[in-house]
Symmetry: C2
């Protein structure tokens, strides 16, 4: 579905005169002008405004009635809100001198609940239920922060599995992933069934029985085709099947999940907001929830999604890759571990070894785990020289191309 990605971002810098907050809407090429126009439309909410209450400010942006018409709460406008909300969190964490995951992990349950918009999810999660989930996790928080600093958070890698690699390269990359200590790998599938069966067999041979090998279809199938294709791959025991069909099709995911059980369904990188996630959970249509740091409305809506997943007992294994998504999403999983679910069991964060060199506080993935970031902020800031080189249309990368 994404044959020609050209990883890009509409990039936001907010300054309070002392500190800067950075955020971005990740795109795969054209569309940055559109995202930039959407971000500009949000200027009145931050320029010269008191930005200390990020629960209230987030809701103000989401409920701007004129801009809401363009969604509501989906697509371009929602991604723009994400960029601004995430930049405000980067700023707040820098001012607090803490990495975002720790800033969140040290907030009280009441403060966390105040960040969430319960509108349209109240039938499954009330503020009281959210408080109860957070209070239940409160006792062990200090120990878990220590454990996280010590052991890190498990990662999996998509590097071996891109379509178009020959069998020899697939074999070599699977071996390297094992050697590097990753806890899981993932193969892209859906272009050609015969190829997929062969590639899956090779990966299974290299990784051995029991090693988690996920597959990812990037929305290629209709419901019937998904079931047919996955059944053909089932002898190789996929750990999960990711994005089997349209991210909007809750009932389609549920039908697929029932038909391919016990093979689990995973989805989320294109799920537009908490309302769709609520329904995927209600229908038991997913077994792994793959939130994205920059598609829903930023940190605040992702907290709602973490709480919904916790209520349903579904593990969150975030989507990453792209530009800076690994950097952002690690903070959300670590907050989930410390303050929401209290466990890393059956949970992994995606890792793609790509473009980290452009960030001032890049992820550190060692021996198959994300090390907990220590620098203040949301790890969202790109290096000034990277920004200068890649800015469109005047940066040298564009000028000279």
């Amino acid at each position: 579905m994404n044959p020609d990605p050209d990883y890009s971002a509409a990039y936001v810098v907010l300054s309070d005169g002392e500190c800067e907050g950075h955020g971005f809407a990740f795109t795969i090429g054209r569309g940055n002008d559109i995202q930039t126009a959407a971000i500009r439309a949000l200027e009145p909410y931050v320029l010269g405004r008191d930005v200390s209450d990020l629960g209230a400010l987030y809701k103000e942006m989401v409920y701007d009635s004129q801009l809401r018409w363009l969604g509501p709460e989906k697509g371009v406008m929602h991604m723009a809100i994400s960029a601004v909300v995430n930049a405000l969190w980067d700023l707040k964490a820098k001012r607090a001198g803490k990495p975002l995951w720790r800033l969140l992990a040290e907030m009280s349950p009441e403060e966390i609940v105040g960040l969430v918009d319960f509108r349209y999810i109240g039938d499954e999660l009330t503020p009281d239920e959210a408080l109860e989930i957070l209070r239940r996790a409160e006792p062990g928080r200090a120990e878990r922060i220590e454990k996280l600093l010590e052991t890190g958070y498990p990662a999996y890698t998509t590097s071996p599995g891109w379509l178009g690699y020959d069998d020899e390269k697939l074999r070599r990359l699977c071996k390297e992933a094992l050697d590097d200590g990753f806890k899981q790998i993932k193969l892209k599938v859906g272009a050609d069934l015969e190829d997929d069966v062969r590639r899956m067999r090779i990966a299974r041979e290299v990784c051995g029985e029991g090693f988690p090998i996920a597959i990812d279809a990037n929305q290629r199938w209709d419901v019937g085709a998904a079931i047919h294709w996955i059944k053909a791959l089932s002898p190789y025991s996929p750990h999960w099947v990711e994005e089997p069909t349209s991210p909007d099709d809750v009932l389609g995911h549920a039908t697929i999940a029932r038909a391919i059980a016990p093979i689990p369904v995973a989805t989320g990188e294109h799920v537009q907001n908490r309302v769709i996630f609520k329904q995927l959970l209600q229908k038991r249509a997913l077994s792994y929830l793959q939130l994205d740091a920059a598609r829903v409305a930023g940190v605040n809506e992702n907290i709602a999604i973490l709480l919904l997943a916790a209520k349903f007992g579904v593990p969150v294994c975030p989507h990453a890759g792209g530009v800076g998504l690994c950097e952002l999403v690690q903070h959300l999983s670590m907050f989930d571990y410390v303050s929401v679910t209290g466990t890393m069991e059956n949970r992994v964060i995606e890792y793609v070894d790509h473009l980290h060199e452009h960030f001032t506080d890049p992820v550190v993935v060692e021996n198959g785990v994300y090390r907990a970031p220590l620098a203040p902020g949301f790890s969202a800031e790109m290096r000034p020289e990277s920004i200068a080189a890649h800015v469109f249309p005047d940066g040298p990368v564009w000028r000279d191309s």
Copy 2:
């Protein structure tokens, strides 16, 4: 939910050197810059291109992999595709010298099926099933065209029911609607329950038992609140309850529909695409489907939605109002009558008496019916003097305000 609308549009004109096609993305105020940027991103699909095959061209735009990342198929990017697709249809109908409804109504079932993207709806509607629906309606088409030209298509009016009118005005406007021959009226609800009960009682008194009075909540409620509120209004027999909650919440709509039965649920003006409509139909979550001419990807996706509704036997009663939505949507309902369902029973098109003076071929609503438009095109073209006066930021309406 829409306290301060300022009706606007991002407006598209395409020219083939002889004819012009007009289209627009309707907004309620800010956001036009964003829509304009999104429309500009589609220029490569039309500038200097052969635009004769609108089935193929529509799919090309929807499947642009980079722009698709900004949705997929929802929000700003999808509304931009709608504006361009609708402008292409306006152009095509003008070149054919026919009003759009008639151009479509005279196409063969095979040609109509070629306009539809069946991706992600194949589990409920295959091309063969669509063909069967269209072929079943084929025999009576000529007679229905005659009937439509003679009798028009039933309309209903929202004019009496805006929030903020005093009781006297409500009473007077209800009486006027009856005198004008409208077949149904609609009241906005959801701000204050006591007020709504009083207003509904007044409307029922004026209109009498059995006259259809719909209510419209504009997404104000969560599931529980919707059920509570509607039950309180049920003694006054609402004809339908429109947008009781988030347009994304298929399961929420289904829960509400079951709880308030036999009062029917209606929704659609904010439903993002055919995939959500498919699910609303699968769950019997709506009893009236209110497609919008300019939110999903234009004429082509609306044909898919008409076919889905026909398969499930759910009447389509389109959303209108805004800027030019009445002008567009009448063509779709008339095509539905002639070529898809063959009936106008239990069907009405919304009518709001607002801003028609800006269009070169404005709707004609007389004695409670839309007269079938006769001028070539999609009735989408604004008068040059209206465009000149309202163009942002240099038109006199803006300059002098």
